[in-house]
Amino acid sequence: MFSRPLSLPLALLLGAIVVVTLFPIFWIVMTALKPPTDWNAVPAIWIPSDPTLINFATLFNPEALGVYGVGGVSESATKAVFGSLLTSITATALSVAIGLAAAIALSRYTTSGRATPLIILSARMFPPAAIAVPFVIIFSNTGLIDTYTGLIAIYVAVTLPFSTWMLKSFVDDVPREVEEAAMVDGRSRFAAHLFVTVPLIRGGLFATTLFIFILNWSEFLFALVLSYSNIETIPVRLAKYVTATAGTLYGVQAALAVIAMVPLVIAGVLIQNHLARGMTFGAVKR
């Protein structure tokens, strides 16, 4: 259906949508390449006349902006990048793994209590602000505050309802009989789940992983209130580029934001082929 050439009005409309969608990304990338003098110039400078990597340098060498007379950046962003990678990857892997087990269990074994999945999802109805403070208290008393372990635990707890819910819908799409056929063919129940159903929901598994990773990667509130000095993540780091002398360092923030986008873009490109659903079509007669 995409082989037909687009009509002109439709092409214009789609073009406009693309422009509007991509503009913030364009702006961020451009800002990251601007020297401090161009950051909030009036009128706005669209494309830096003299692109520089000084903002990126500042992320890892706090003194770099000194050449422009801008100081007050105290810390390198290395810890934040490391922290974000560690917490997001670990928490996403755990959340998807536990969520997959839960999804299969809910889809295949629940004969009564259809409300259970809803109850799980309702755990996410609480605004994070409402549960953040109790967690600060609990974590302070258990020594989990300001540790990666603590942050990962929170991230798993918070994203688990999503991963369970999403994966359950994919598992539900695989007819139960396909697993049962494998059992009659000679697989154990567990092996049928693992070797029959899981490969069939591969696309859904990738989509869920990406979604949960984005949630974790961009989480701010918990990372802020549960960290003091030992741990840091990119969103928290971003908020710290405000100096007493030079105000907000837009260029440096933009540079970090560009770095923050990189893993998402890579992940998106890698798995886009798997995102399409419909693998199960043809399994059963209709």
Binding site: P175, E177, E180, D185, G186, P199, K285, R286
Partner: protein, 361 residues
């Protein structure tokens, strides 16, 4: 013939619903047994219990005399064809059929040979490299069949394997199924709601109504001597005529039927002995149509249905709408509105208890 499969007093509840009540069933080695019943009668549950996909609340499942009630599905040596086929959608025809062999750790060469032979038997060699979604309904059916047959298990369970196919394809595959089973001496238990399929295929039919076995009999017997009213109504199309009747033992025996009185034949007198009311069942082919002055039970033709070789007439008598089948040629001599006499073949009357529906005599 030894009993290959035996179910003893199987009961199964789902919540408050009693799906199976005290079901006994045997499949002799090399036999074709058909589980016949309407939707919801418990056919699929029975098959799932035998396959090990559901556990019974009571009773035992035995294969070759061994109690396997608590065995996992993979340890039972049965193959099952599901009503929705349940092919592996991400595997080709070849891989689908090869799957059970791979799990049994056969060598690649052996797997290849057996799948090849199976695909030749089922005439699906040309689709071995295709995914199920690109196959036609009949082809998928054959792949599912191949996946079950390739293993050589002790018992085959088939859950309405032909129900969603075209009429023509269904007949073709039905004949093929019977041939495969006979030629290879396999033991089949097939569930179907289609009595026609049951009569054509079965050595023995097990009739299931509301989770209970009502009759176990050969095709001939189940049609000609149904154990009760429900079985009689389920088997046969057009359905058997059921009507209130009365036997009067006086005056050499008389039968009141369709609002008329007939002399009772010897068979009926022997069945009843004393006067009583009952429910009479008469198959549509066991009633003849004659000119209006030819018999005491009269009526008007209200509908004529062409069925190919036969025509089915509906005749409104004083008491009932009677369905009668006649050869197609004879059907052309009648038209709607004709006044006729219905002549029941009285020695073919099935008698059922008016209250519980059980066969009398």
């Amino acid at each position: 013939m030894t009993a290959m499969l035996a179910l003893r007093a199987i009961s199964k509840r789902f919540g408050k619903v009693e799906a199976l009540k005290d079901v006994d069933l045997t499949v002799p080695r090399g036999a074709f047994v058909v589980l016949l019943g309407a939707a919801g009668a418990g056919k699929t549950t029975t098959l799932r219990i035998i396959a090990g996909l559901d556990e019974p609340n009571q009773g035992t499942v035995e294969i070759d005399g061994r109690d396997i009630t608590r065995f996992a599905a993979k340890d039972r040596d049965v193959a099952m064809i599901f009503d929705n086929l349940a092919l592996y959608p991400n595997k080709t025809g070849f891989q689908n059929i090869a799957h059970p062999l791979k799990l049994r750790r056969l060598t690649r060469a052996k797997i290849h040979d057996r799948v090849q032979a199976m695909s030749a038997t089922l005439r699906i060699a040309h689709i071995m490299n295709r995914l199920p979604k690109t196959m036609s309904g009949g082809e998928r059916q054959r792949v599912a069949l191949g996946r079950a047959l390739v293993r050589d298990p002790a018992l085959f369970l088939l859950d309405e394997p032909l129900s969603s196919l075209d009429a023509m394809l269904r007949l073709e595959l039905r004949a093929e199924l019977k041939r495969l089973q006979r030629e290879n001496g396999m033991s089949f238990l097939l569930a179907t709601p289609d009595f026609d399929e049951a009569l054509a295929l079965a050595d023995t039919i097990v009739m299931l109504v509301d989770g209970q076995v009502r009759q176990v009999a050969g095709p001939h017997e189940i049609y000609n001597a149904p154990a009760d009213r429900d079985v009689a109504r389920f088997v046969g199309a057009p359905a058997i005529n059921l009507t209130a009747a009365e036997y009067d033992a006086g005056d050499r025996g008389r039968l009141r039927l369709f609002g008329a009185v007939f002399d009772a034949p010897e068979t009926v007198r022997a069945t009843f002995g004393r006067s009583q009311s009952f429910q009479a069942g008469l198959r549509p082919e066991d009633i003849a149509v004659a000119p209006a002055d030819a018999g005491p039970a009269k009526g008007t033709i209200s509908d004529i249905e062409k069925l190919g070789i036969r025509a089915a007439l509906t005749i409104e008598t004083a008491t009932d709408a009677v369905r009668v089948t006649v050869p197609a040629v004879e059907g052309e001599n009648h038209s709607v509105g004709d006044h006729v006499a219905v002549l029941p073949k009285l020695d073919r009357v099935h008698a059922f208890d008016a209250d519980n529906g059980c066969r009398i005599g």
